[in-house]
Amino acid sequence: MTEQERINFKAKKFLVLLFVIASFMLFAGLTSGFIVYTGGSVDRGLKIILPQAFKLSTLLIVLSSITMHMAYLSAKRLQLNQQKMYLLLTMGLGIGFFVLQLSAWQTLIGQGIYFVNPNASQSFIYVFTGAHLVHVFAGLMMVLAAWLGGVKNIPQANNLFRLETASIFWHFIDILWIYLYVFLLLNQ
């Protein structure tokens, strides 16, 4: 790899990091909005027990972060098969997370807590989790791209680049969910 290519990869990796910061600001905006809104009146606030599914989904996404890291380590050690396996595992866990979040929505609806709601604090639960799921979807696409790279056996530099960017983003999604969950728990 030439010096110029090395710099280009570094600059592109940095782009992913910056995107993470921008996404984080989106959620900072949403959660601040929640605080401003909820602080406005005593009628507002979550006023519910959060669905149990969130606990399980938290577990899944933390596990998926670990498998993602394993995939990255395998890529560095040039263990292509292991890399592919761990990426598949990560995707599986990610899809599981996705499904669990949707089931949590169902639980909420079952309790009569709708998205269209005069207490918008409760609508915010859907906004937080929904916006997060959009990121999970994007993350799954990145993991998929990394897996396909492994299948097609692309050059190691590119392979490593895909894995690094996918794992930066995936860990971000993980931390983001923990932030949102803790935020919701604190306001429960």
Binding site: F14, L15, A22, M25, A28, G33, A120
Partner: protein, 651 residues
């Protein structure tokens, strides 16, 4: 010619050759120089349209009772009987503001000059991701098309003001502009935010990762510092606007109540309960205030560069300039409440926002004084670019001062939502930032289009615009002090406003003259692209790296290696040197006669060499004379040497 330039481009090591078609070269270009031009021309077109809209509503304000049959001819039902309808008046104001703030002064300004100058002034082949850079332009283009498209829908464009406050923006049936027009506005803005984020991410990554050898952060031109900090401000604030817009879309289309509560429309009570319109204001202004600095900072960076170059003096207080930009960046995130003093905010909180707001005047003032100190006793060259830069300083002072009035929560009770605010932000943002942008266009036109603009037309453009901008906006202060509210349709409807009608007529005439002056610019700009005088490699005798690239554009910017940088960009008129500028690429070993201790930043070896040189100079005058003679010989040879670098010779 172009093909020879291209041949040189393929020879350098790190750029694979790829075949260029018309489509990849001019339309879906990934070259930052072409993307810069795309942004500029789109920005200029949007600027002309937005200016035209303002002339329309100025006609209404100047002559509310008069009929202009020609308006009906091309506006149709929006101007029945030749008079602009109230609904359409609001749409005009809204789209004028949106286009000017976001499309002209954000995308047109940052998009053009960050794209052009970041790689060129830092010594990079291109942006971190040329592909994302291209997407950034095309998202912006789509945003423009959709916004324009809203003029062609039945119910007309959005009309809730550029800040689109709910409930007007949240209830599709509120006024005609709240319908499809508002939906299109939101779509357009989402695309626009995506575009500016992609741009900003690229700018930051490029500045941090792709500088050439020797280009430390503290050797970057102030333009780059400004673009860099602007991009950071954008990355931290635009996502919050997305959050606000997402909630607004839910309120509009899904029936949620984030912003809506207790609304009775046409005698019907709406089901939305519990929402808070103030929430929108918080989220909007958390972006909105940083946004005004996103608009201004690039203009400040451009003027720093132009003022130093054309005063033939180092910029006064380079470090102070950078720290003020950093200060503005940080502070701009904690002052948003000054737009909300009258929302029933806790007076203590109002006090906090008042203090932070007044503090932001400090870095602004530091910058102003530094501009003035740079000009002070400079060897000033009054190029059109320089005049526009000085114009910016003037507007920044006169508009900034009124900001301090508005920043006082108590005074703002009287002034909020009056023409005083309109005067404030049109001087400090509208006029100042537009002047910064025009300054950049005049200064870097030769770099972009390889030709020069006509100077005399430039002077004409400057003086008429400068005078008319003051004639338009200055009287508005007095209207505001008298309590005249902004965004009102007809001054004839209110007894106390009638006395201002004559002033309105005056302002409208000034606005019309100002718009006509822009024709001089447009003609000059487009004519010079094709028929302007061919430029030389470094027409302004400037120090920065972009003027070391060949006049012909190459993909990859420099043929062969990227030059190394040895010094900061402001060595103008350095005592002891035989010319009044020393490019950043000149090593200190070639300028022994002008080096000072500070230049070596503690490099002991260099200091020793310089000391030896100085010692020789005092002992034997013969030896000392030698380098001077050498330098003289160099200047004599210069014309020949200069020719060598122009591509005509190279090919």
């Amino acid at each position: 010619m172009a093909s020879t330039a291209h041949d040189t481009a393929v020879h350098h090591d790190d750029h694979g050759h790829h075949h260029e078609t018309f489509l990849t070269k001019y339309v879906f270009s990934q070259d930052h120089k072409m993307i810069a031009k795309q942004f500029l021309i789109t920005g200029i077109i949007m600027g002309v349209i937005a200016m035209f809209l303002s002339v329309l509503f100025r006609l209404q304000l100047g002559w509310p009772d008069k009929s202009f049959p020609i308006l009906e001819t091309f506006l149709g039902k929006w101007a029945e009987g030749g008079r602009i309808k109230p609904d359409f008046y609001l749409a005009l104001v809204t789209i004028h503001g949106t286009m000017m703030v976001f499309f002209v002064l954000t995308a047109g300004l940052s998009g053009t000059f960050s794209n052009l100058l970041i790689p060129l002034q830092l010594g990079a082949r291109d942006m971190a991701s040329p592909f994302i850079n291209m997407l950034s332009y095309w998202f912006f283009f789509l945003a423009c098309v959709i916004m324009m498209g809203s003029f062609f829908v039945e119910s007309g464009p959005a009309s809730a003001g550029w800040t689109v406050y709910p409930p007007l923006s949240a209830l599709p049936k509120a006024i005609s502009g709240s319908g499809l027009g508002m939906t299109l506005w939101l779509m357009s803005m989402v695309l626009f935010v995506a575009s500016s984020l992609m741009g900003a991410l690229n700018y930051i990554s490029t500045v941090l990762n792709m500088r050439t050898k020797g280009m430390s952060l503290w050797r970057m031109p102030l333009t780059i510092w400004a673009f860099f900090l602007t991009a950071i401000t954008g990355v931290l604030s635009f996502p919050v606007l997305v959050a606000a817009v997402v909630l607004l879309i839910f309120d509009r289309s899904f029936g949620t109540s984030f912003y809506l509560s207790d609304i009775v429309m046409q005698g019907q009570v709406l089901p939305n309960q519990g929402g808070s319109p103030i929430l929108w204001q918080h989220l909007f202004w958390f972006l909105g205030h940083p946004e005004v600095y996103i608009v201004l900072m690039p203009a400040l960076g451009i003027t720093s560069e132009v003022i130093a170059t054309n005063s033939r003096k180092p910029i006064f207080g380079y470090h102070a300039m950078v720290y003020s930009l950093i200060g503005i960046t940080v502070l701009s995130f904690i002052v948003w409440g000054h737009h909300m003093f009258l929302t029933g905010m806790n007076p203590f909180l109002g006090g906090v926002f008042m203090i932070t707001t007044l503090i932001i005047a400090v870095p602004s003032a530091v910058k102003t004084f530094n501009y003035l100190a740079t000009l002070w006793r400079g060897n000033i060259r009054f190029t059109p670019a320089m005049l526009f830069a000085i114009g910016l300083v003037s507007f920044f002072i006169s508009g900034g001062l009124t900001g301090i009035f508005l920043g006082n929560a108590a005074l703002d009770i009287n002034l909020h939502d009056t023409y005083f605010v309109v005067a404030h932000f049109h001087l400090v943002m509208g006029s100042a930032a537009i002047f910064g942008m025009l300054c950049g266009v005049y200064h870097w036109f030769p770099k972009m289009f390889r030709r020069e603009m006509d100077e005399r037309l430039g002077y004409l453009h400057f003086w008429i615009t400068f005078i008319c901008a003051y004639l338009v906006f200055f009287p508005m202060h007095f209207m505001g002090l008298d309590g005249v509210p902004r965004r009102y349709y007809a001054f004839t409807e209110f007894e106390f406003m009638k006395e201002w009608l004559t002033v309105n007529v005056f302002i409208t005439w000034a606005a019309i003259v100002a718009s006509l002056a822009q024709l001089a610019f447009l003609y000059n700009f487009f004519h010079s692209i094709f028929y302007g005088k061919k430029t030389t490699q470094n027409p302004w005798n400037s120090n920065t790296l972009e003027w070391t690239t060949p006049v012909e554009h190459l993909h990859g910017n420099w043929p062969g290696e990227i030059p190394t940088v040895y010094r900061w960009p402001y060595d103008y008129s350095k005592p002891g040197h035989n010319e009044d500028f020393i490019p950043q690429t000149t090593p200190f070993s070639e300028t022994m006669s002008s080096n000072v201790a500070h230049d070596f930043e503690g490099n002991a070896e260099a200091e020793l060499l310089q000391a030896e040189y100085a010692a020789k100079g005092t002992k034997k005058s013969v030896v000392a004379a030698k380098p001077v003679a050498k330098a003289a010989a160099k200047t004599a040879k210069k014309p020949a040497a200069k020719k060598k670098t122009t591509p005509t010779k190279k090919a």
